[in-house]
Amino acid sequence: MTRKGRRLLVISCAAGVLFVAAGLVLFALNDTIVFFRSPSEIAAEGTRPGTRLRLGGLVKDGSVQHTDGTHVRFVVTDGGADMGVTYVGLLPDLFREGQGVIAEGVLAPDGSFTADSVLAKHDETYMPKEVADALKKQGVWKEGEGTP
């Protein structure tokens, strides 16, 4: 094989790998991205049940109910709309009423939200960015006010 031929081979191999990798990336991205929504957005858009979402907002005061050791119900609010969430599992350390939370899961047909993971903040002075933006949109919280 000539030097040119070899170079061509190496380049075509490289192009092949890149092509496969790009295909993989697009395929995987298509399937696995999860959108963030606030309760008001879900109410306004009429999101279909069965859609996988990240729901964010504040845990409504007085809404947390432990039905038994591991089943929990709470309400996520952004000031504009509320959404009931059911979750099986242990809540994170910094999960508190009146604080920011992100629940990832699926919208149930009855309009409630079944979460399979619940994320709170890592630090008591910190608000998840998505939640902060959603709250700002509803006028519940303004920049510089400190975390609610």
Binding site: R3, C13, I33, V34
Partner: protein, 666 residues
């Protein structure tokens, strides 16, 4: 010590870094040997001043000097001494200072041990290193000064984020920074070579030890961070595909590709242009990681505070260095002469494949990490790219890497014999099939991929030894001769084999843990029991305990298997009083390579407590494998050829004396 001394030392460091950027570069341009030599002195002075500045900050933390804002915000006088020290870098300002300290130390090491570097190359390397230091010192002084004072000083500090009050903070960030910043040296070498427009196999010899050092530290740093997250966050996960983890994984992939392509360049004088590009990319991705973590565009445990000016500043640094180096690359790379041709099936060919797949994986992680940011900037949509994306893309790209790994070292340079290599791997392949069959038998029904993956992992581990066995000639020559040859093999051969085996061990842990782990979430009252992974756990008692700056609620569990008592596990919910913030102190019991993992949830209204328990088979192999990888890197580093560094025309007595010094590179 007075914090103003630290501040002043930092300002002096900036001046020194500026001089270090200009003087050696000017000397290299005009061919003035005296000016070039100044670079080394300046590098040592820089390390001294940054070191002094850092030490001042540490002292302020140890003495709980609450007239310093940074100490007030991140420390507390009741904190144990270790966490007062580590708290120095448990915040934005301090961690940036640590970053620059590591940078300065690496520059000083080049100055000290780069005696046999060509004067011009060394001068340019130090100048590039100086420019990076200048940029980050400007960043610290203008946006993140750790020495800002508060008047009047408060009586008590606000304490460190409890998640960070852990031995992990003493280990993880310094190791990670040694890795991240270590790639600044290979970057500096690449840029210096481009400035000169000249590069050869000797360049690869000088660069390889630095790349190996940085890579080994980065491996350890990532593994340590993973284990820390695993036991501290209480979710039992060891990798979350969190953007910040991805930020450290991208330079790791690029660095892994770099240490392999540098071998081709050193041995065969080929792939020069590509190696230089990888050296630039590895550090660019490290800078990108620093930007992602420090700018606050992402929310994570690593985000200490958000301040838009900082983000913009780091972005400017990023654009300057990445854009500048890539522009220089575009201009100068065509001037680098290509050498060494090779057949597609050869050692070089295998290493090219490795490089392609590793960089593709790095790119896939980059896309997944930046896509949400780009989309939000484009149309405001907020999305998350979750673990399924990364598992699919990185998994699919890494499987062929794992499979090809044992073949690579068995192929000859220039033109390899694939059938011959396959023949020599028959034993490894047979063993892999046996292990896959055993795994399939052990799990009964279950994911089909698990036995396959374990077979692959076994193939990688055993196949890694094939090169050593082959080169010693076991089976072909008398055993005594083979052992004699084994002793004569260069250490880098053992290092490479060990690192490859480490990958296999890590892969085994990952596959075993993800396919066979068991999880149990339960509400348990005192005296109650539950079962997880074949073990019965009984909550014996819940008791409060007091620590120096926290209160614990400890759950003591007895572990039984088949009615036989195996021991106890203590798991705690810890409340840090200064910030009124709870953390989970998970209880872990290691049995061989597997772990039982118990974390406590909230106390339940009707008495008792929520418990999350996991059985994690072979989970420790994930970190043991990473340790083995890093150990392999260290073993390669101790190879005499690398220590000697530059190729020497003949073995003069003096050259021997040089080789005896125990430094990474000269």
């Amino acid at each position: 010590m007075n914090p103003e001394i630290g501040h002043y030392a930092l300002v002096l460091s900036l001046a020194v870094a500026l001089l270090m950027t200009v003087i050696p570069a000017w000397g290299a341009r005009t061919g003035d040997a005296a000016l070039m030599r100044v670079g080394s002195t300046l590098a040592l002075v820089l390390a001294g001043f940054v070191g002094l500045s850092f030490a001042t900050l540490v002292v302020a933390y140890v003495q709980s000097d609450f007239s310093v804002l940074n100490v007030v915000e991140n420390s507390h006088s009741a904190k144990p001494l270790l966490y007062r020290i580590t708290g120095t870098w448990g915040n934005h300002e301090g961690s940036m200072l640590l970053w620059v300290l590591v940078l300065a130390i690496f520059a000083a090491l080049v100055a000290l041990f780069g005696a046999n570097l060509p004067a011009r190359l060394k001068a340019n390397v130090l100048a590039v290193q100086g420019s990076v230091a200048t940029a980050f010192l400007l960043f610290i002084l203008f946006t993140s000064n750790p020495f800002t004072r508060v008047i009047p000083p408060p009586a008590e500090g606000q304490d460190l984020n409890p998640i960070l009050q852990d031995i992990g903070l003493a280990i993880h960030p310094p190791l990670l920074y040694l890795g991240y910043v270590g790639f600044s040296i290979t970057f500096a070498f690449a840029v210096a070579a481009l400035i000169e427009g000249r590069i050869d196999a000797a360049w690869a010899r000088w660069v390889r030890p630095w790349a190996l050092t940085a890579w080994a530290f980065l491996t350890l740093g990532i593994a340590m961070g993973s284990y820390w997250a695993y036991y501290e966050l209480g979710w039992g996960g060891w990798w979350f595909w969190d953007p910040v983890e991805n930020a450290s994984l991208m330079p790791w992939f690029a660095g892994t590709a770099l240490i392999h392509s540098a071998v081709v360049m050193e041995k065969r004088d080929a792939l020069k242009v590509w190696t230089v590009l990888l050296a630039i990319l590895a550090f660019s991705l490290s800078l990108l990681g620093t930007f992602l973590v420090r700018s606050g565009v992402l929310t994570s445990v690593h985000t200490f505070a958000t301040d838009p000016t900082r983000g913009v500043f780091i972005l400017a640094i990023l654009v300057f260095f990445i854009g500048g180096s890539l522009a220089l690359y575009a201009l100068r790379a065509p001037m680098l002469r290509q050498g060494g041709i090779f057949a597609p099936v050869s050692r070089e060919g295998a290493l090219v494949l490795n490089n392609l797949l590793l960089t593709a994986a790095s790119a896939a992680v980059l896309v997944g990490t930046l896509y949400p940011l780009a989309l939000e900037a484009y149309n405001g949509a907020k999305i998350t790219v979750g673990p399924p994306y990364f598992n699919l893309t990185v998994g699919a790209l890494m499987l062929p890497v794992a499979f090809a790994m044992p073949f690579g070292p068995l192929l000859a340079w220039k033109r390899g014999d694939l059938a011959g290599a396959a023949q020599r791997l028959m034993a490894a392949f047979g063993a892999a099939i046996v292990i896959a069959a055993l795994a399939a038998y052990a799990q009964g029904g279950g994911p089909v991929l698990a036995p396959f993956g374990m077979g692959l992992a076994a193939f990688v581990v055993i196949g890694a030894m094939a090169e050593v066995i082959e080169r010693a000639g076991f089976g072909r020559v008398p055993r005594a001769t083979a052992f004699a040859r084994l002793r004569g093999l260069p250490r880098s051969v053992f290092g490479g084999a060990l690192a490859h085996a480490g990958v296999g061990v890590c892969l085994f842990g990952i596959i075993a843990e993800t396919s066979w782990n068991a999880e149990r979430i339960a509400g348990v009252k005192v005296g109650g029991s539950f079962e997880v992974g074949g073990y019965e756990l009984t909550l014996d008692r819940l008791e409060p305990r007091n620590g120096p700056n926290y209160r614990d609620l400890v759950g003591v569990f007895t572990v039984r298997q088949g009615g036989v008592e195996m021991g106890t596990i203590e798991s705690a919910k810890r409340l840090f009083t200064a910030r009124n913030m709870p953390t989970t102190e998970s209880g872990i019991r290691t049995m061989w390579f597997s772990q039982l993992y118990v974390s406590l949830g909230d106390e339940l209204p009707g008495g008792g407590v929520g418990v999350r328990a996991y059985w994690k088979p072979f989970v420790t192999l994930i970190w043991i494998g990473s340790l083995i990888m890093a150990l392999g890197g260290a073993l390669s580093l101790s190879d005499r050829r690398l220590r000697v560094g530059a190729p020497k025309p003949a073995k003069k007595p003096k050259a021997k004396a040089d080789g005896a010094s125990p430094v990474p590179a000269e």
